[in-house]
Structures are given as C-alpha cells and as structure tokens.
Amino acid sequence: MKWAGWCILVAGLAGCAGAKKVELKKEAVGRFRVGVPEAMTATSRSQMIYGVRVEARRLGAWAERMADLGEKVVSRPTMASGVEAVWYREASDLILEARQLRGEAAVTVVRDAPEGKEEVAERLSGDVLEAYIEGTAAGFCIGPGAIRMGPSLSESVEIVWKGNASSVRVDFSTQTVTSPDTKTFMDVEEERGFAQLAGGSLTLLRERDRTVAGLAGREIWISIALPGKEPQVRFTWHFAGVGRDGTKPKIDIVGKSGSGDQATLEAAWEAMLPSIETVPVK
C-alpha cells in the first residue's frame, strides 16, 4: 500500500503525524466481512434471513431462556434430530424458537406465524437451521458460522460496536430492498433545519462519494452542537442498495462519538471502511 493510502487508513483526517495504526479483528456480518478495531466490542447483533431471525448464542442459554418463557410456552414441536424447539405466545403473537448445538455455539432461530401456519414456520426455520455451517465465512454470516442459503429477498443485519474506553459507537446495518433507498442519510439541509429548530447548529465536515467493498455509496460527516449537550460528531456511509438483490442490500454505517473522541472515531472509521469486503454466497 502506498504511503498516502496508509495515511487515510490509519489516521484519516486526524493527520498522519503521530497517528497509531488501528489493530483490526475481522467479523463476518451477513453478506460482509468487516475489520473492527480491537478496542471495540459488539454490544448487540441481529440477523434475519427469509424473515427468520437467526443468532449464535452462548451454550447453556437455552435453560435460562425456557425459564424466562415459563407459562408462555404453548407446545414443543418435534423438528430435526438435535433441535430443541418451542412455540410460545407473546400477547397475540405465536412465535417459534428453536436451537441446535453446532460446534461451540447454540444456533437459534426465531420465527412468528399466523395460527394454522405453524408447520410452514417449522419447515422454513428448520431449513435455515440446517443450512448453518460452522467456521465458514461464505453465505449469510452470523458470527461463528454462516447460513448457506439464498440470497433471500428478505435479509437484514444490525450490529453495534462500542469503544471499550471511548464514546465511539459504530452501527452497521444492511437490508435487502425492492428499490434503491435514496433517502436515508442523504439530506444534510433537513438535519441542519432540525438542529436549528432545537436551538443548535450543524456543521458539515465532509460529503463525498465513496466506494466501499466495490459499492458506490455516499459519505457524510457532520458535527452537531445543541444547547446544554456535549457536541457530537456523526459519520455516515450509505449505499442505496440494488432492488431484489440480497448480495447488494442497502447498507448504512453510522459512526458517532462525543467531539472529544472525534480523533478516535476518525481513526476507527478510516480503518473499518476500507476493510469491508463481500463474502462469497457459497
């Protein structure tokens, strides 16, 4: 990599002099692999494919989960060998939750169904569970492995990383679209209007086209100062998505921090974005 490239990667707008290299760990999320600073930890994560929420949970959590559900449990359907499953009722919703121990993780699927369609939900959820492959980053990634299915017309991912010792937070989300989303994070003037309405101000720090993982998106950096609040900076990168294409979903990456941690956010941002790559479908 050329010297100029390293400057952007490591230090971003903070400047090259004195900037430290950000150590990254690779995390596979949905159809993408992201380099995440070692100093950040995922605090929440959710993935959905074919309308089935799928997670890798820690072992042993099933008993706790069953205790939580308690009297909400309606039935315990028989699914594939090694799959534990329950139907439970949450208000008027009938929800299937099933899990299977796969390697070091308990892969859990959650799907709701209208009354009378339980069998369809069991088949769909069972297929998703069965398509899980441990230790791969090809397919629809959920952490320690991936669901080798699709791409579906209905996939979404949301993950939040937070700084271990800073106010930095990065949200990464994807969602398949029927047509490109040209609205989200695209109207700075409207946001400026909101800030002014609240008695504050918004400063545009950067707005430009930027390609990430081969996808042409738009990057916007703003700082927001509101009365009585610590000034904040927010960086966004938005890819509008390609209609009906699970491998090219709408993508939003949102980095935020207090203005005091702006340099840390910039360094994390400039390390993360170039690191993002698509993962093979199969």
Binding site: T43, S44, S46, M48, Y50, G51, V52, R53, E90, A91, S92, D93, I95, V110, R111, D112, A113, P114, K117, V120, A121, R123, L124, D127, M149, G150, S152, L153, S154, S156, E158, V160, D171, Q175, T178, S179, D181, T182, K183, T184, F185, D187, E190, E191, F194, A195, L197, A198, I224, L226, K229, Q232, R234, T236, R244, D252, V254
Partner: protein
Amino acid sequence: MAKKHTVDWNKVDEFLAGLETTEKHEIEVRREAIPLVFVPGIMGTHLRRPGTNGEGEDADGLPNLRWSTDTGWMLSNLIFARSNGARRRRLLVGTPEQTFNPKYLEVDEDSPPGDGFRGIMADYHKFLEVLRDHDWGLLNKYFVLPVYAVGYNWSDDVKNAGTYLAKRIDAIIEESRKVTGLCEKVILISHSMGGLVTRTASEISGAQGKIAGIIHGVQPVTGAPGAYWRMKAGFEGFNSLGLVQRALGNDGPKVTAVLGNIPGGLQLMPNKVYQTTDQKKAWLTVTTEGKVGLSLPRDNPYKDIYEVKAIVHPKKGENPSQNTYWGLVDPDLLNPEKAAPEGGDAHDAMNAELDKSWPRYLQNLKLAEALHDELCPEGGVPKQHPHTLTMTGIGHKSVSVIEMQVESNWVRSDPYPNQGFRGFFTDAAGKDWQAVLQDPAEIGDGTVPWSSGAALEVPKRPPPGDVRLKAEHQPAYEDKAVQAWAIEAVTAMVKQRYHEQRKGQ
C-alpha cells in the same frame, strides 16, 4: 386555646349544635379539591419498556425510553439516527416477530406518578404552570384546584387508555381527599387525541360521575383526514410543524411503520360520520382535469378505504390497471424488516405465506372501528359528558378532504417522496399515469379540520361556550386566547359545582 371544628364549605350555613358557650371555638372551612387533570394528545406521553426506569439500552441496542419529546432524545434517536420505518417500528411496536402488544410500552412516570408532569411532553408544562399559578379569586374560598397530568400509552386502543384514565381519576380523587378531606370530582382538560380518551373514560369506562366537566381543545371528534395524508405522505411541510411532529417521519413508509401497527394511530382516522367542511360524506377524491373520477367513501370508510390494500404500482401488462393505490396502508410498509416481495425462491414464498402484518392491521382496524362506533354512533350524536366545552382551532390550512390529481407520468417511479405520495396506474391503452396527493386548502388548526373539531358543539352552551379560535394544533394551549378561554371554562365548571352543591340553600 380555641376548640377546633371543621365544616365542609357547602355546609357553612347549617346550624352548629352542641358548642360549649364557655369555650372559644375556631371553625375551619374545609375546601373542596377539584383536581384539574390534563390529558395530552397522541405522542404527548413519554413511553418506556415495562420493567425499566427508562434509562439505558436493551439487548437490541435500543433505548429503554422508547418515546420522548425531549429534544435530545428525539434528535439522537429519530432525527440524527435517521430512523427509518424499521427502526421506528422496533422502538414502538417490537421486534419483527412481534405485532402490537398493549403491554409492550408503559408511561414513563414515577411510582406513584405524583402530579404526572414527568410523563408528558414538556411543552405542555407551560400551560399547566399557568393553571397552577392562576389566582382563582373568590373560588379559592371554597375550592382548591390542584393540577395533574395523566399520560397514557397512546399506541394502545383508546378504550384501554380511557380505562387507565378512569383509574387514575379514582387515584387522584383519593389523593386529593387525603390532603383536603373533600374531593369528589375532577375537571378534565384534553388536547387532541386526549379528547377521545377523556370521552371514553367518561362515557364508556364509567367515570362520568367523577367528572365535573370536560374541556376539549382541538379534538378530532369525527377523525382527521390529515391522519390519512400523513400515512400516505409523512408529516407535512406545509405547516410550521414543531420538532416533535417533524420527527415523526417525513414520508409515508416511516409513518405507516408506526401508525399502521398501533390501534391508537388508526383511531385518528375519519370515522363513519365524518363530514367535510362542505358537509359531504366523501372526503377522498381522485380528479382528472378538475373532474372527479373517484369519490370515497361511498358508504363506509373502513370498507371503502381502510380495508383496501394500497397497491401503489400497476400490475405489469394489466391495462387498464386495477391497483387500488388510494387504500390507506401499503402492506409492504407494515413490517419493513420482513417484507416479503413477490418472486424469489421457495423459501421467499414461505416467508410471504407466513406474513401476518396485514391480518394484524385488520385486527387493529377493528379496534378503531369499535371505538368510533361507540363514541360516534351512526345516526346518533357523538357521546360527550353533560358538562362539556370545546375549543376548535381555525386559521391554518388543514386536510378536510384528500384530493389526488391525475397527471401523465413519464419518469416518476417512487410513490413515497418526502412529504408526498403518487399512486401509479395505467389506462386501457397502457399509458402511464400518476395520481398525485395534493396539499390541503381547508380551514382548521393545521391537523384537525374545523368540521371535525366542532362536531361536539351544542347551541346555547353556558358561558364561555364552545369557541373557535385562531390556534394551531400542537401548541394550541400555548396560545394566550386559548389559555384565557380554558381558565374561563374551568371557572364556569367550578361555579357549576358550587351551584350544584348549594342548591336549595
């Protein structure tokens, strides 16, 4: 040392027997408390996840405080988070597996709630402070008028909110009785949707006997076509809306993902007895070069508009297309994270088969219809407390009728631009057309047309009577003229109470 006695204010004329003439006596007049209870409009109550104190985040990274009108909360959770329909749905309805659950949210208030101010939008506090600081003059001799606010879960069925309010009225009376020794009734003051809640508490939930009177401001008595406009096009830009309204969403997908999934939102739609300012039953028209081609509802807005799926694009090859773009809700917008578009593989088809968004929407619609029918029965008169006074806002452009104008379409393909809506269709020749939602031009408070706000008006109401004032919807009670009228209304209702108690003396 005088011997103390207490006499209720309305019994001061009665003979006091058995007083020792050898002792001094001090007679204290016990004043009656009539709590003034303010009930806010939709989205005017802060909501949180039950079992939390509203602080911190849940496992999904969402705030435990799920709705607040605090500027910082709105900016960070809705505006600068660029919260789309999916996120808004998660905040207020639940995970994609969940549909509306009345227990998903609760009022973010103290336990016990105290004066209830914490649970409601801070902008309302200005008016409540005016009430609290007002010198009630001679009335102070007999009455104490403590000020309370009762927030409610506005996402829920108004009937449940009415039941909740009825219980809070009991608790407030009990609390006030402990302080003054005498309290039997409250006066309710409602804003917007709070009007439906207060009427429900009074006329359906059995609290009428504990209410001295109800003062309504800018109530959508027969509903508001503006709610339809906003579901299709987002919160509009033609009015000088405040931060709260703007934060609700500037396009149809954001608004539908919330209001389409909660009964409370649907209960603001025009009901079966709604009439336009021209006293017409049909409030939705599609016009071509000034000629009305479609005029709805023919009979029943539920059957003709709300239960009709909004299909916003024509089916390929179908000429003329039959797609009903004017329906209230586009099913694809109800649960964006699980949208199951046609096509795809066998598993996509299974996902589509399991989608229950539309049936659940219809269930919520049933709750709306039941409330509408009960509060405003067809062929009857809208139910209201016997001592009611109403204020209708005028002077602002409001949606009394929905008009979509047909235009030829060469390039448009997005049915949901910011603050707009276009329904696409084809004619018999296969030519493309778009029905474009028009901005409103009728008179009201910016949200509720005067024909709906004034639907409870009764001739010869006692002073200060039902009034129509130049006031905007959301900040109505910040208007000095509205405040003056409300104070007169409270005074009139307290005097009414005085005369009722002193009858025959």
